[in-house]
């Protein structure tokens, strides 16, 4: 056994000081200050919150700042990629033409020196049997073999690419109708987020009202109201959203209506549970003794105290609303074209997946990142609001 070294001053008796024993080292925080502090310390949640704020700002201001609109079509510039390999041909007069080959639709597009797409290059001659197209640049000739997807000069020497260029006129490329993907993406964010927020708000009001009333009234009214909720929750909600969409025809308002009118059941359950426990508290009895009316007790005393679980449910409802909306749009029941949401953008990209797989990337990434952000924020909020996890 080794001896444990203890410094001699450690053996000195502690001073007895009543005041020091009562000293509280940590600053006293209200509940919400504590929640804010703990949420701050949660990195994924703050990252999520930051991303959501960025997304909302982009959705509000993006379409205003964009050069393009979400509906403006340019069929000559359809399916242009965001990044392409350029070729350069200089004729004998010294005039250089820069262009790129779009392997998806086998077209050549002219590119300006600053990287903007100037337009489609028309072949001088098309040989459909040999699957070749001839292009004239001044006195130089370039042959495009559409079967092998190769470019060569008239003498057979292959063209070598001069470098990569980011598409400066459409930063994320264009879709099959030649619409700017970035503008549609921003506009889609606007629609998807609006649907999600409004539908969640509708759910919030119905759920809180219904659940609050059931919990507060209690007894027979509660039993009947909760039986109704039980019946509704047995029905697969997706089916009902679809049915409502069929009846009211697709469009922005009916998406909101369909999602808003169906998904309040969870909220109602949670609010009811909270109210049931809270209404036994003495301060409710005190309020009632002082003559406060039922609505006043509900709104002033019971609901503010159950705001934590409500908030968590709300943040979790938003991503599921985005999910449902994109699901509906994907099977053709969402917003009507030319309007765009993340769901319609994804389903449009899926149509052209074989030729232009990269078009799926942006809408899919937008949905997934938004999902991450809201889920992280929701998890963080739940942890921050849970008093058991309080440090």
């Amino acid at each position: 056994m080794t001896d444990t070294q203890v410094a001699p001053e450690m053996w000195a008796p502690a001073t007895r000081d009543g005041a020091a024993a009562e000293y509280i080292a940590a600053p006293s925080l209200t509940f919400w200050q504590d929640v804010r502090k703990r949420l701050w310390a949660n990195k994924p949640a703050m990252l999520g919150l930051g991303f959501i704020i960025l997304l909302v700002l982009a959705a509000i201001f993006g379409p205003m700042l964009s050069r393009h609109t979400y509906f403006e079509q340019n069929l000559k510039l359809s399916n242009v990629p965001p990044l392409f390999q350029t070729y350069e041909v200089t004729d004998s007069t010294g005039a250089t033409t820069r262009f790129f080959f779009n392997s998806g639709n086998l077209n050549l597009y002219e590119v300006t020196p600053s990287g903007e797409v100037a337009g489609l290059l028309r072949p001088a001659k098309k040989d459909l049997i040999k699957k070749q197209q001839q292009f004239k640049f001044g006195d130089k000739q370039v042959v495009l073999d559409t079967a092998k997807q190769q470019l060569s000069f008239a003498d057979g020497a292959a063209l070598t690419p001069s470098g990569w260029q980011w598409n400066m006129s459409n930063l994320l490329g264009t879709d099959q109708l030649g619409r700017d993907v970035l503008a549609r993406q921003l506009y889609g964010a606007r629609i998807s987020l609006t649907v999600a927020f409004v539908a969640t708000l509708v759910n919030f009001f119905i759920g809180v009202f219904y659940g609050g009333l059931a919990g507060y009234l209690g007894g027979k009214a509660d039993t009947i109201m909760m039986r109704i909720v039980e019946v509704i929750s047995t029905i697969p909600l997706t089916l009902y959203v679809i049915l409502i969409m069929v009846v009211f025809n697709s469009g922005f308002l009916s998406v909101v209506l369909a999602i808003g009118s169906v998904y309040w059941v969870d909220m109602a359950r949670i609010v009811r549970g909270q109210i049931l426990t809270l209404k036994q508290q003495d301060y409710v009895a005190a309020a009632r003794t002082m003559g406060a009316s039922t609505p006043r007790i509900l709104v002033r005393h019971l609901l503010p105290n159950s705001v934590g679980p409500i908030l968590v449910t709300l943040t979790m409802l938003i991503p599921s609303a985005i999910f449902i909306e994109s699901f509906m749009s994907f099977i053709g029941l969402g917003v009507t074209p030319p309007e765009a949401s993340w769901g319609t953008l994804t389903s449009e990209a899926v149509e052209t997946l074989r030729a232009y797989p990269y078009q799926l990337f942006f809408p899919a990434a937008a949905i997934s990142l938004a999902m991450f952000a809201f889920n992280f924020l929701g998890d963080g909020l739940r942890d921050a609001l849970d008093p058991r996890l309080r440090a």
């Binding site: 039993t223 039986r227 039980e230 019946v231 047995t234 029905i235 697969p236 997706t238 089916l239 679809i242 049915l243 409502i244 069929v246 009846v247 999910f323 994109s326 699901f327 994907f330 099977i331 053709g332 029941l333 994804t346 389903s347 899926v350 997946l353 074989r354 797989p357 799926l360 899919a364 949905i367 997934s368 990142l369 999902m371 991450f372 889920n375």
Partner: protein, 309 residues
């Protein structure tokens, strides 16, 4: 116990009745009849069609007729496929949907639970991080994106599996994967957090202190208790696997009920929409009921009792 089962069954009947009523009136609130199309029909033909399908009856009579039909398990004729009844449409699609759905459910349980256990037992080490990263991605990426990306990579680029249909056994891989991806992730996360919570219980320490083998402690005391939350979500999982098939069957061109449902929506085939909705709802309710009963068998602490009136 028996009283509880009876009460549940009664509630299911009430729910089914509510669903039938609601769907019926929703579908009849749609403007335009089932035979309104660009091609104007002769008034006589229109009248004859209406008479054949009892569409000239007052609404309440149509409702009663429909209700009687549903009670005798007859969901009526399809308005868009001449000569096909809704029953036949369902019978045609059911095997495909059931097969992919059952395989997906097996995948969810057989992959999700072990992944969660591995993650929980290796808490904060690389297997845990790996599982959690995959699970987080799986929960955030929509199933149709997983489906199309998988289709592009494995069927179009690599050619390992057919792009559509189920004629080949390899055709099942992608639909089942896309269908179950979200729920594998979800169950893995749930199993992980539930097992972590169970591992901290006092009875786990007691079991260890008694000198039981590590395997016995883990499987008999830990797993059995931590799997209860997993079993509770199986009901909603089944429901979502079935409704998830709408999109998956569309993408992989599988002739299941989900595809028929989406088709009947685009065709505005109202009897088919009604019939398939009611069928789905009935199947789901039975599934959720079965899962609840299973729950009862697994956890002897739970005693279901009918509500005292």
């Amino acid at each position: 116990m028996t009283a509880y089962v009876v009460q549940r069954l009664l509630l299911m009947l009430v729910t089914l009745f509510a669903i039938i009523t609601l769907t019926f009136f929703l579908m009849h609130a749609v403007p335009g009849g089932p035979f309104t199309s660009e091609k104007m029909l002769q008034p006589e033909i229109q009248a004859a069609l209406n008479a054949k399908y009892h569409l000239d009856d007052p609404l309440w009579l149509q409702y009663l007729t429909y209700l009687r039909g549903v009670l005798s398990l007859d969901l009526g004729p399809s308005f868009k496929y001449a000569g096909m009844s809704v029953n036949e449409i369902i019978a045609e699609g059911l095997p495909v949907t059931m097969k992919t759905g059952a395989l997906a459910l097996i995948c969810v349980v057989a992959l999700g639970v072990p992944l969660g256990i591995v993650a929980a037992l290796n808490r904060n080490r690389w297997p845990d991080t790996l599982v959690m990263v995959i699970a987080t991605i799986g929960v955030a990426v929509p199933s149709y994106v997983i489906a199309t990306v998988a289709l592009y990579i494995f069927a179009l680029r690599l050619g390992w599996v057919p792009t559509f249909g189920l004629d080949d056994w390899r055709g099942y891989f992608l639909p089942v994967f896309a269908l179950s991806g979200f729920w594998i992730s979800f169950i893995a996360r749930l199993a992980r957090s539930s097992l972590l919570e169970t591992l901290q219980q006092d009875y786990m320490m007691t079991a260890k202190a008694k000198g039981l083998k590590r395997g016995t402690v883990l499987f008999k005391h830990g797993l059995r208790n931590s799997l209860i939350p997993v079993v509770t979500v199986l009901g909603p999982v089944v429901a979502n696997l079935l409704t998830g098939s709408f999109v998956i069957e569309q993408i992989f061109a599988l002739p299941g009920i989900g595809r028929h449902f989406v088709l009947s929506i685009t065709n505005r085939d109202y009897t088919a929409i009604m019939g398939i909705t009611i069928f789905y709802a009935a199947v789901l309710m039975v599934m959720i009921f079965i899962v609840d009963m299973l729950y009862l068998v697994l956890d002897p602490r739970i005693k279901y009792r009918a509500d005292p009136k």
